[in-house]
C-alpha cells in the first residue's frame, strides 16, 4: 500500500507527525516525523489496522470519536495530560514524549474516499519550558519570602535595640535622679556633722541622722530593685520553676507588711482560698507580691483599705491587689509598665518610688508565663491583677 497515495508525500517534509487512516481504520500513511518519534518505519506499519499496531486505542473513548471523524464529524483532540501516549514515543533519556494529537476528517474527491488525518505535535519541550519558568517563578517567590523574613528580623532587632537604649536611658536617669539626690543629701549632712560635730548636742545629731535612716532604707530598696532588674536585663537572672502554694507566699507578705499598714492606719485584708498550687519561680513571684502590696500602701490614704484576693481561673491563678487610694488617670496608667517612659509618683505620705517596681513585676510575671494589668480610676483606687500558671494537679 506504501506509495499508493503519493499526494500525501508532502507531509514528509513538515515537523508534525501525520498518520492517515481509512474508514476501515487501516493505516495508509505514516510520515517521516512519526517514524523518527516512534522508531516505526512506514513499511512496517502501513496496511495494518490502527488497533493492531496500537492495541490501547481499541477502546470506546478512541473508537467512538474517531468513527465520528471518519463519518465527517468535527475534529477531536487528544491532549497530552489526558492521553499520555496516543502513539507511544520516548526521548533519548527514555522519558515519554508529550504528544498532542488532533484527528480531523478529510474527503478525497479524486479517490472518492474518506480519511481521518491524525496529526501529532510535540509538546515535550514546551512542557519543559513551562516547568522551568514555574521553577524560576517559585525561586523568585521564595527569594521574596526570604527577604521579607530578613526585613522582619531587622525590624525586630531594631525594636530590641530601641528597647535596650531605653533601658540604658532608664538606668542613667535612676542613677542621676534617684541615687544622686539622696546620696548628695547624705554627703552634705555627714560633712556638716563631721566639721561641726562638737557643736551639736546629741538630740540635734539624732535629728540630723533620723531622716538619713529613712532615706537609707529607701536607697537600699532602690539598689535591691536595680540589682534584680540588671540581672534580668543581662540575662543572668536564673528562674527556678517549682510547685508551691501561692497562698502561703501571699500570707507571708501580708504579715511582713502588717506593721507598715498599721503605722499608716490602713486595713490589709485577704480573700483567699486555703491552697492554690502554682508552677513558677518562687523568688520572682514573691518580689511581685511585695512590690504590689508596697505600692498599694504607698498610694492609699490613712483609713483606707487594701484587699488581696486570689482565685483559680482556667489554667491560671489570678491574684488581685486592690486599694481604695488615689487611683490613676489614663495617661498615668499608660506609662506604668513601660521602660521607655520615666514615671514615678510620690505616695500619699510623700513616699518616693523608683519607677522600676512595676517594670520588674511585668518582666517577672511574663518570664513566669503569666500576664499583669491594671484597672484604675482617679480618686477611687486601683486594682492590679496578675496571673501565674497552675500546677497540673491544681488544674485537674
Amino acid at each position: 500500500m506504501e506509495g499508493k497515495y503519493p499526494q500525501f508525500e508532502i507531509f514528509n517534509s513538515i515537523p508534525i507527525g501525520i498518520c492517515i487512516i481509512n474508514v476501515n481504520f487501516q493505516i495508509i500513511f505514516w510520515n517521516k516525523q512519526l517514524e523518527i518519534w516512534t522508531n516505526i518505519k512506514p513499511q512496517d506499519i502501513i496496511g495494518k489496522k490502527l488497533f493492531e499496531s496500537f492495541p490501547h486505542l481499541n477502546s470506546p473513548k478512541y473508537i467512538i470519536p474517531i468513527t465520528s471523524v471518519l463519518n465527517g464529524g468535527p475534529p477531536v483532540v487528544f491532549s497530552t495530560q489526558l492521553h499520555k501516549s496516543f502513539f507511544p514515543s520516548f526521548l533519548p533519556n527514555m522519558q515519554p514524549r508529550l504528544l498532542h494529537t488532533t484527528v480531523s476528517h478529510c474527503t478525497c474527491s479524486l479517490l472518492n474516499e474518506k480519511f481521518a488525518v491524525i496529526s501529532v505535535e510535540d509538546y515535550t519541550y514546551l512542557s519543559y519550558r513551562i516547568k522551568e519558568h514555574k521553577k524560576m517563578r517559585d525561586q523568585a517567590l521564595e527569594e521574596v519570602e526570604r527577604r521579607k523574613k530578613v526585613e522582619e528580623e531587622l525590624r525586630k532587632s531594631e525594636a530590641q535595640l530601641r528597647e535596650l537604649n531605653a533601658t540604658k536611658d532608664k538606668f542613667f536617669s535612676i542613677i542621676a535622679h534617684d541615687l544622686k539626690n539622696p546620696i548628695g543629701a547624705f554627703k552634705n549632712v555627714l560633712e556638716l556633722l563631721y566639721e561641726n560635730f562638737n557643736e551639736f548636742s546629741k538630740e540635734e545629731i539624732l535629728e540630723f541622722i533620723e531622716p538619713l535612716k529613712e532615706s537609707s532604707i529607701q536607697l537600699f530598696s532602690l539598689l535591691e530593685n536595680l540589682l534584680i532588674w540588671s540581672r534580668a536585663q543581662t540575662g543572668k537572672m536564673q528562674l527556678e520553676f517549682v510547685e508551691f502554694n501561692l497562698i502561703d507566699l501571699i500570707k507571708n507578705n501580708i504579715s511582713l507588711f502588717t506593721l507598715q499598714a498599721d503605722n499608716k492606719q490602713i486595713e490589709l485584708l485577704t480573700q483567699i482560698p486555703q491552697k492554690l498550687m502554682v508552677f513558677a519561680d518562687l523568688n520572682s513571684i514573691n518580689a511581685v507580691i511585695r512590690n504590689l502590696i508596697n505600692n498599694a500602701l504607698k498610694f492609699t490614704f490613712p483609713g483606707g483599705k487594701i484587699i488581696v484576693t486570689a482565685i483559680e481561673q482556667e489554667d491560671f491563678a489570678l491574684v488581685c491587689v486592690e486599694d481604695n487610694g488615689i487611683g490613676m488617670n489614663d495617661e498615668t496608667k499608660s506609662k506604668l509598665f513601660r521602660i521607655d517612659v520615666h514615671h514615678t509618683s510620690l505616695g500619699t505620705a510623700q513616699e518616693k518610688g523608683t519607677g522600676l517596681g512595676l517594670i520588674i513585676c511585668k518582666e517577672f510575671i511574663e518570664a513566669n508565663g503569666g500576664k499583669i494589668w491594671v484597672e484604675s480610676e482617679e480618686g477611687k483606687g486601683s486594682k492590679f491583677y496578675f496571673t501565674v500558671p497552675l500546677t497540673k494537679s491544681q488544674k485537674n
Partner: protein, 208 residues
Amino acid sequence: MELTPEHIDVIQEMINIGVGQAANMLNSLSGKHVKLSVPIVEVIKSEQLIDFFQAKNVFDNYSSVTLTFSGSLSGSSKLVFPTESASKLVMAFTDQSQDELDFDEIQAETLSEIGNIVLNSLVGSLANLLNINLNYSIPLYLTGTIDQILSADISFKDDGLILLARTHFSIESLEIEGDFILFIDLKSVSEFVNSLDNFVKEGGFFTK
C-alpha cells in the same frame, strides 16, 4: 429573518441531546461522574453579548475554545470560561491539586480537548438532527479579555445570529459555570431557519 419561540424550543431540545452525549464522553474520558446542563438558550445581539460578559465584571481573563464550521451553514461555536474556572475544570479532569491555579499551555491544551468534546456534541447534535453537512476547522484555544476573544472571531463581526447558553459542569463536588455561544453567519441565517422549519414540518423529534 428571526427565530420564533418555537424555533428556540427546538434548538434547546437539540442542545439538550448534545449535552447528554457530551456528558457521556466526559464520563468515559475522566472516569468520574460528570453532569452537564445547559438550562436556557437565548438569542441576543452582539452588543448585548459584550454587555453580558462585562456585567459579570468579576474576571479579567477568559479562556475559550472555538470550533468554526462551514458548508451548508457557516459560523462558529465557542465555549468561554473565566480562566480560573477553566483551570479548576482541567484540574478536576487531571486529578491535579486545586491549590495551584496556574493556567499554562499544557492545561490550555487539555481544555481544548474538553471544550472540543462539548462543542462537537452540541454542534454535532444540531447538524445531525437538522440533517446538515458541515466542514469543521481544528478547535482553537484562545485566552484574553472578552473583547479580545470575541473580536478574534470573524462570525462575531458578521452581524448574523447569536445564541447564548450558560453551561453548568458538576464534577464530583466541583461546580463550574461556562458559556456556550453559537454564531450563525448572516448569509446562513435563512438556511438555518429553513432547516428548523423543515425539521418541525417533518415531525420534529418524534420522527428521529
